[in-house]
């Protein structure tokens, strides 16, 4: 079912006026809550990654009562910690022509013209304050000898605007946010609930007023009530089973909210990262990213000849194909992620892939080592080379790395308006869990920026637009809505534990992942998606008949935790494929083989698809309803994205 554009689409609340003034104007027009009243409002923040921790800390500093939840044993371990490469900001410290406008422009273009201009501009505006904030917290960004902050160029940008902390930028930023959060916890402003998994959202009179959680140590299912709920629960890349995400990353919180009525936007926009360590066997549990900053110095190539068996060093220069440099002379090895990934897929499809499986390409540092010396390369990437060696047993100073694309990031997420509120009043969504800023493809070093912009600067202002209209503390967990949802959650747990089938949860997750990767991965087509839409429900049905979840619910039960997440992935995967099938164009991370130019480049269809797809749940196994939010481009001219 496809609905008419805008008619039943909630208002995206984009402020009027020139793009550069919208956010300032919105801040002026936003409602305020007086300091004495703020403490009467309880804000539930699910997630303690960059988005969640920064929001929880800042809201608490403002005086709101905050409760924060995460599934790890400590908020410091959220998956944001794994980000390696860096964070963008339009500081223009390098005087190389960067500006807020250029970052805005690059992000809209990088997103293949499928994001909201107003959101992206705001993101670019906030970027500079983020760096100030993080430095003030003690985040040890890389510095030059003169003591000023260093920058590098990253992921398809032609200016050096990326701030970094060796290969551990995410860790250092998260520790910064975690320390701010810890300060507020100590001050009594935030109650922190680690090892607590949100399993459902509670609506009261159509507003998000609470969550149902499972205590992952005792198994207790219980609820929390609040005046508003913030989901900052990260991305859904693990629907593919193998991805660069942490093992626990999941779609549960967002998907449960979707089932309660929140629109899910653009789920088919998934990002495949070009530089990951290739799969080595069937037991593989996750894929490891090699920061794409490596592409600043590494050259990507494969042998010209299919079926090459010589060692890389024995293949002469003229028998190598530096395909990115060849195809995209001006961006070369720094071509954006979607383009680089597809490039790798193409050469592997031609039989020119390297390594045991033929699913790999070389990333070669020989030229950079010749030019700058091994020490310089070690200084820049030492920990990444070390990580590579631990995993593969190979020394990349001597032999080129082997890399292959892997699922990495999900641009899609719950639909939100300019205030970061979903179509469910009171439900706000931050960070990777929302859909808002990256369109169909995210540029490198922009997710950290978005998570922190959302948490430190956007939500602290926009949350009042909702809360000011609400009387604080009106709902408690005594409300019957909570009992009902708790009952449903407990019932589902009981069901998992009593199926007693023959297959482990992981075996289902693996099978689903392969299916989704195969039909809805780097390249998609109508036929394959239709097939997946037939097979996913079959697998789901088998899951509910044949999964084995040992143990009980009075204790730590990791199989039970996984079962809940996989059950949600088994439903969500269908939504992903519906979206991919409905979008009959290629854009960013969504490549439909039917829609490509003769040279194999993505072919967008702006006339028919310049909209956000916002899906409404209609019941498990039923086709969801598509709502469309039209995208207006008033500042950036829609153009074919060329990196030639």
């Amino acid at each position: 079912m496809v609905s008419d554009i805008s008619k039943d689409m909630p208002d995206s609340k984009i402020p009027s006026g020139p793009i550069a003034e919208k956010w300032t104007k919105h801040k002026m027009d936003s409602r305020l809550i007086n300091p004495n009243n703020k403490r009467k409002y309880t804000v539930l923040v699910v997630g303690s990654g960059l988005a969640g921790a920064s929001a929880a800390a800042t809201l608490s500093e403002l005086g709101y009562k905050v409760k924060c939840f995460c599934y790890q044993d400590s908020p410091r371990r959220a998956h944001s910690i794994a980000a390696q490469g860096g964070i963008n900001a339009a500081k223009n410290y390098q005087n190389d022509g960067d500006s807020v406008y250029r970052l805005f422009y690059d992000t809209v273009k990088g997103g293949d013209f499928r994001s909201r201009e107003a959101n992206v501009h705001r993101l670019a505006e906030c970027s500079t304050e983020i760096i100030d904030q993080c430095v003030a917290q003690g985040v040890p960004f890389a510095r030059e000898y003169g003591g000023l902050l260093a920058n590098r160029s990253f992921g398809g940008a032609q200016v050096s605007r990326t701030f970094y902390a060796r290969g551990q930028t995410g860790q250092q930023l998260l520790i910064g946010a975690y320390s701010a959060l810890s300060k507020q916890i100590a001050a009594g402003g935030v109650e922190m609930y680690p090892r607590t998994e949100m399993l459902d959202l509670v609506l009261v009179d159509g507003h998000a007023k609470g969550i149902v959680v499972r205590d992952m140590v005792t198994g207790r299912v219980h609820s929390f009530a609040g005046d508003t709920v913030l989901l900052a629960t990260g991305g859904y890349g693990n629907v593919f089973y193998l991805s660069t995400n942490a093992m626990g990353c999941n779609v549960t919180a967002a998907y449960r909210a979707h089932k309660r009525g929140a629109y899910f936007a653009n789920p088919c926009y998934t990002q495949i990262h070009p530089t990951c360590i290739p799969v080595s066997g069937a037991y593989q549990s996750k894929l490891t990213l090699m920061s794409e900053s490596l592409r600043n110095d590494g050259r990507v190539w494969v042998p010209k000849k299919a079926g090459e068996t010589r060692r890389p060093r024995d293949i002469p220069e003229d028998e190598r194909d530096y395909y990115l440099e060849r195809k995209y002379p001006s961006f070369g090895n720094l071509a954006p992620r979607d383009i680089s990934s597809r490039g790798a897929k193409e050469v592997c499809d031609e039989g020119r892939g390297v390594g045991d499986t033929g699913l790999g390409v070389y990333l070669d540092f020989a030229a950079a080592i010749d030019r700058d010396g091994e020490d310089a390369i070690r200084e820049r990437y030492g920990n990444l080379f070390q990580m590579y060696e631990q995993i593969t047993g190979e020394n990349a100073y001597q032999t080129p790395m082997r890399i292959f694309p892997a699922v990495h990031y999900t641009m899609g997420g719950l639909w939100v308006d300019y205030n970061l509120m979903s179509n469910i009043p009171g439900l706000h969504v931050l960070g990777e869990a929302n859909f808002s800023d990256h369109g169909a493809n995210r540029l490198g070093a922009s997710a950290l920026m978005q998570g922190l912009a959302d948490g430190y600067f956007v939500i602290p202002c926009t949350i009042a637009n909702y809360l000011a209209g609400e009387t604080p503390g009106t709902v408690t967990t005594e409300h019957e809505a909570f009992k009902k949802v708790e009952e449903e959650v407990s019932q589902r747990i009981h069901q998992f534990l009593n199926i007693n089938g023959n297959r482990s949860v992981d075996s289902f997750h693996r099978e689903l992942g392969l299916m989704v990767w195969d039909k809805c991965g780097m390249a998609r087509d109508r036929e394959g998606l239709t097939e997946a839409l037939k097979k996913i429900p079959e697998l789901r049905e088998e899951f509910w008949k044949n999964v084995r979840v040992p143990g009980d619910n009075n204790n730590v039960n990791q199989e039970l935790e996984k079962a809940g997440r996989v059950a949600d992935f088994l439903e969500f995967a269908e939504l992903l494929c519906y979206d991919a099938r409905a979008r009959e164009e290629s854009c960013g991370g969504h490549f439909r083989t039917e829609y490509q130019t003769e040279e194999g480049e993505a072919m967008r269809d702006d006339e028919n698809y310049a909209y956000v797809s916002a899906w409404e749940h209609e019941g498990v196994g039923k086709e969801p309803t598509l709502h469309k939010e039209n995208l207006e481009f008033e500042n950036v001219k829609l153009a074919v994205r060329s990196y030639k």
Binding site: G146, G281, D506
Partner: protein, 257 residues
């Protein structure tokens, strides 16, 4: 085809925090040398589930050496063989066919076992809450380049900031001391100009929080440094001891600082 290993595992099993624990023996068959240590456990767990048992519980998340969640003592050594690695970064090529491998949780009074190989490390969070931060209210920051920080200072602060809070230092120490963890944070923040204002208060309250949570004293054995997956130097402990002494003196003469 990757080489395969036949191994015997001796694993700590403990149904819950309150229950008694003991070592159980498992065969780990046909383990590819290219698998990671945790993938080896995944394979063994698949077998346990298929046989109708309860899989071995262990903490893990990122599986790439950065979140600090994984926490196994392998053959008596926190994070197992290899220097500068976490448990999840250990690969099976570090073992020989026929090996017997002992797998236990990170042991310390301050880290009670929750189940099997999982422990509760919230004491670390409490230590950070006691002062492991720079008070910088959002929105109050000056321009990031307003205070240049000499590269050597920034680098030294970074070396300390690399701590992932895994707790291997505590598990390796015969006194279960958390000095390396605490020193890394105290020195990361204390070395930076932004962190100076709270330096004295920070070191005093973090060290006291450490004592309150039942971590032991440091007797300069430096087992902590040897197992630290981020190779954080024990010299930070020496520095912190100096800072603590200086701050204690000031505390004795100034009431408020």
């Amino acid at each position: 085809m990757a080489k395969k290993l036949q191994l015997t595992l001796k694993v700590w099993r403990q149904p819950s925090g309150k229950a008694e624990g003991r070592i159980e023996t498992y065969d780990a068959k046909d383990i590819p040398v290219t698998a990671s240590f945790l993938e080896m456990l995944d394979i063994v767990n698949e077998g346990i589930i298929a046989d109708g048992g309860e899989p071995i519980a262990f903490d893990h998340d990122c599986r790439e050496g950065i979140c600090g969640m994984c926490s196994l003592t392998i053959n008596g050594c926190p994070h197992g063989p290899g220097k500068g690695v976490t448990t999840c970064q250990v690969h099976m090529r570090s073992f020989q066919d026929g090996d017997t491998i002992w797998i236990e949780p990170f042991r310390a009074d301050a880290f009670p076992v929750l189940k099997d190989l999982m422990v509760d490390r919230t004491a670390f969070d409490h230590i950070i809450q006691a002062g492991g931060f720079i008070s910088a209210r959002t929105g109050s920051a000056v321009d990031a380049n307003a205070t240049p920080i000499p590269k050597p200072v920034a680098d030294a602060a970074f070396d300390a900031a690399a701590c992932i809070g895994c707790g291997a230092c505590v598990a390796a120490c015969k006194n279960a001391s958390a000095m390396l963890f605490v020193a890394a944070k105290v020195e990361h923040l204390g070395m930076l100009p932004q962190g100076k204002a709270e330096k004295d208060r920070r070191v005093l309250s973090m060290v006291r929080a450490m004592d309150d949570h039942g971590f032991g004293n440091c007797t300069n054995q430096y087992e902590c440094e040897a197992v630290c997956p981020k190779e954080i130097s024990a010299t930070y402990i020496t520095k912190m001891n100096r800072d603590f002494a200086a701050a204690s003196v000031k505390e004795a003469v100034v009431t408020e600082f």
